[in-house]
């Protein structure tokens, strides 16, 4: 089990600069802190979560830690360069890591993880029955939330193994791009409450309802469902629920364990976002939800920030001068440069305004801003570059 959690509603990055609202997130301090055992990266889709997770893991490893990174759906070339294009649900060592630390990586196979849980919880006969059920097949591969649940399950497994064998001292987890920001926190709970739900309970005891009224109501329902879905549907569902119910106790306990692990002090949540309204709104949900659940939030990483051109020239001045030049020479190179400058200044201003709004609403959240790279990251060298940027960010404002 994890260390017991102290009463800290939310954790602010270690290097909170005084006088500033949020302050810069000191990523290196977080990575170097030996008490940091788990880093969970969460955020909406398309914000560079996977790259951030991998970059953090590599940086931590090259700073001497024994790291494993759990990714969900890395870009093909990145997966290849890390040697994890094979989906076998086992951490594999990444070659080419410099320094005394080590880095293993694995890509989550959701269905396989689910199967493993079932196999470990049920008798072989029962397990086969579950694995063959059409509901199980659908649930284990497409139920919204299964991926989230399985990511957390795998995290729990790796953590237990690492505690026992000392293989890793830091686990970095990439979370699935959830339809809802909160899916990964709710998934264990949802799976439990599904199995605990009234309807499922009724399916488990179809013949002997607690009261006559209930039984009558159930008859109405089963008739309606049979009418809409066909009899086979209900029968399969009933088999599935009955079978799964046997392993239910195990599920619930594990979900609870993983949840406490996430809440414990050795865990640090990083919310990843891009400087776009939607992504930052999602990030706000995350921050609020994490604080509500007393989850240890380390900070916000804003990826893909437009590089600040610096200098004094404002967008308006640049545009005025550009127009003046275009009047005499419509193809003026300098006018083009000035317009580009104006465009970039506007981008930077807009992004800053968005970040400021976030910081005003959540002054306790330390922030790291990572400038956009020109190209995609698909090798260790690229990850190292991102890691260096993460390590030396200063909260812009």
């Amino acid at each position: 089990m994890a260390r017991s959690s102290t009463q800290r509603p939310s954790r602010v990055g270690p290097a909170t600069a005084p006088g500033r609202r949020a302050g810069a997130l000191d990523v290196d301090a977080l990575l170097d802190d030996p008490t940091t055992g788990i880093i969970v990266c969460c955020g909406s889709g398309g914000v560079g979560k996977t790259t951030t997770s991998a970059a953090l893991a590599l940086r931590a490893a090259e700073r001497g830690r024994k790291v494993v990174v759990l990714t969900i759906d890395p870009a093909r070339r990145l997966a290849q360069s890390m040697g994890i294009e094979e989906l076998d649900n086992t951490p594999r060592p990444v070659t080419g890591v410099e320094g005394t630390g080590s880095l293993d990586a694995m890509m989550l196979d959701m269905k396989r993880t689910f199967d493993e849980v079932v196999l470990s919880q049920a008798s072989p006969e029962k397990a086969q029955q579950i694995l063959a059920n059409p509901f199980y097949i659908a649930l284990s591969s497409s139920f919204a939330g299964t991926q989230e649940y399985m990511a957390m399950e795998k995290l729990g497994q790796i953590h237990r193994d690492a505690q026992a064998s000392g293989t890793y001292d830091l686990i970095v987890v990439d979370t699935p791009p959830s339809r809802s920001a909160l899916d990964f926190l709710d998934a264990p709970e949802r799976l439990s409450s599904f199995l605990d739900g009234r309807f499922v309970r009724l399916l488990l005891v179809p013949a002997k309802g607690p009261a006559k009224l209930m039984t009558a109501g159930l008859g109405l329902i089963t008739n309606a469902l049979t009418k809409v879905l066909g009899a086979q549907f209900l029968k399969d569902l009933q088999t599935f629920v009955t079978a799964l119910d046997t392993v239910f106790g195990g599920f619930r306990q594990r979900a609870q364990q993983t949840y406490s692990l996430l809440k414990a002090d050795g865990t640090a949540f990083l919310v990843v976002a891009a400087p776009e309204p939607d992504a930052l709104r999602e990030a706000e949900y995350f921050v609020e939800r994490l604080s509500e659940d007393d989850m240890p939030l380390a900070g916000l990483v804003v990826n893909r920030a437009s590089p600040d051109p610096g200098g004094e020239l404002s967008a308006d001045e640049a545009m005025t001068a550009a127009e003046r030049l275009r009047r005499t020479d419509p193809a003026s190179l300098t006018a083009g440069l000035l317009r580009l400058h104006a465009d970039r200044v506007r981008m930077v201003q807009r992004e800053r305004a968005l970040r400021d709004r976030f910081a005003t609403a959540h002054p306790q959240v330390a922030t790291a801003v990572v400038p956009a790279l020109a190209g995609d990251v698909h090798d260790l060298h690229g990850l190292r570059t991102v890691g260096a940027l993460l390590g030396q960010t200063v909260a812009g404002s």
Partner: protein
């Protein structure tokens, strides 16, 4: 002329962060020409339409949202909006097809509605797409309901789109017979017909372009009709190709630029020219990467449309501007 004149259902998908909701909204505005009724639907519960058009959160009910982009003579149609959630869709569906007055309520009381819509895999998607299907298939027999000339669906992201539309396949293992099964088959007939087009939104970066290519392959394998590729957030083109290569090589004429800046009425401080040259070099590098991705998009062999990156963000005016660009390029 529109490239998609026969299409009644425009499904807009894209990788997260590429702006698919923006494109769906702009497309709806562009399609709403004189006398036309367009329905813009969302299914992911994010209320993105309401935010984009700055209106109150949408209920499970069609609402008049705004008027379309005017044509040359100022004629414009109407854009309606609908937020589809699976729970309401299921209740509506049950009362519509089965007249399950009492049983419908009982289902709710026993948690079946919640069960069916959050857990039972595939059912959720069938319900969401079922409502979209209903809106597309309406005709004069549906008294009192608006008949739409086009329906635009702000759909789930590229990674999930084929699964989402391939409803009968999703249900295959579960409901082998029964009315839901036959209804999902009817829906598939529409989704696979030339009256449907699945458009994919991308930006000119490696991963989104790769995902677009994969998405097209998957859609084709499922025999779902691929529409166009909308390339969103394209960088400004203020420099010519020669200027870009000079910027990359670091051979832009520094003295000339200094002179121009002075002529343009700017005070040329110590860092100004250096700053502009550095920005130009960085921009040129990114443009080169864009160009290589653009070649890949062209090789996908589907019609493509380009929309610029809006430096100041996208407000309602910006949406109409994008709609105008889509119409100009023949997407609507």
């Amino acid at each position: 002329m529109s490239d998609w004149g026969k299409v009644r259902l425009h499904v807009v998908t894209g990788k997260g962060g590429t702006g698919k909701s923006t494109v769906a909204s702009a497309l709806a505005l562009a399609l709403a020409t004189r006398g036309k009724n367009v329905l813009l639907c969302e299914v992911e519960g994010r209320q993105g339409i309401a935010r984009m058009f700055d209106v109150d959160p949408l209920p499970y009910q069609e609402r008049r949202l705004t008027t379309g982009l005017p044509d040359a003579d100022g004629g414009r149609g109407v854009v309606h909006a609908l937020h589809i959630d699976a729970e309401s869709a299921l209740l509506e569906y049950l009362s519509m097809y089965y007249r399950l007055g009492r049983a419908g309520k009982a289902l709710d009381r026993f948690g079946v509605i919640e069960f069916a819509t959050t857990i039972a895999p595939g059912v959720r998607d069938v319900l969401l797409t079922g409502k979209v299907y209903e809106a597309v298939q309406r005709n004069s027999r549906n008294k009192g309901a608006i008949e739409y000339d086009a329906v635009v669906l702000d759909a789930p992201p590229t990674g999930r789109i084929t699964q989402f539309l391939n409803v009968s396949n999703e249900l295959a293992g579960l409901a082998k017979v029964g009315p839901i099964k036959s209804q999902s088959d009817t829906m598939m007939t529409l989704f696979r017909s030339p009256r449907t087009a699945v458009h994919l939104v991308t930006v000119l970066e490696e991963m989104p372009v790769q995902e677009t290519a994969d998405g097209i392959t998957e859609l084709r394998a499922a025999r779902l009709p691929v529409g166009g590729v909308v390339v969103n957030q394209v960088r400004p083109r203020d420099l010519t190709d020669e200027q870009l290569s000079a910027a990359r090589a670091g051979t832009l004429d520094r003295t000339r630029i200094e002179q121009d800046l002075t002529d343009g009425g700017l005070e040329v401080g110590p860092g100004l020219v250096d700053g502009l040259l550095a920005e130009a070099a960085d921009h040129a590098e990114r443009r080169a990467l864009e160009d290589s991705q653009r070649d890949l998009v062209a090789a996908l062999d589907v019609p493509s449309y380009e929309l610029p990156r809006m430096a100041g963000g996208i407000d309602l005016g910006g949406l109409y501007e994008l709609a105008g660009l889509l119409r100009e390029q023949g997407m609507a």
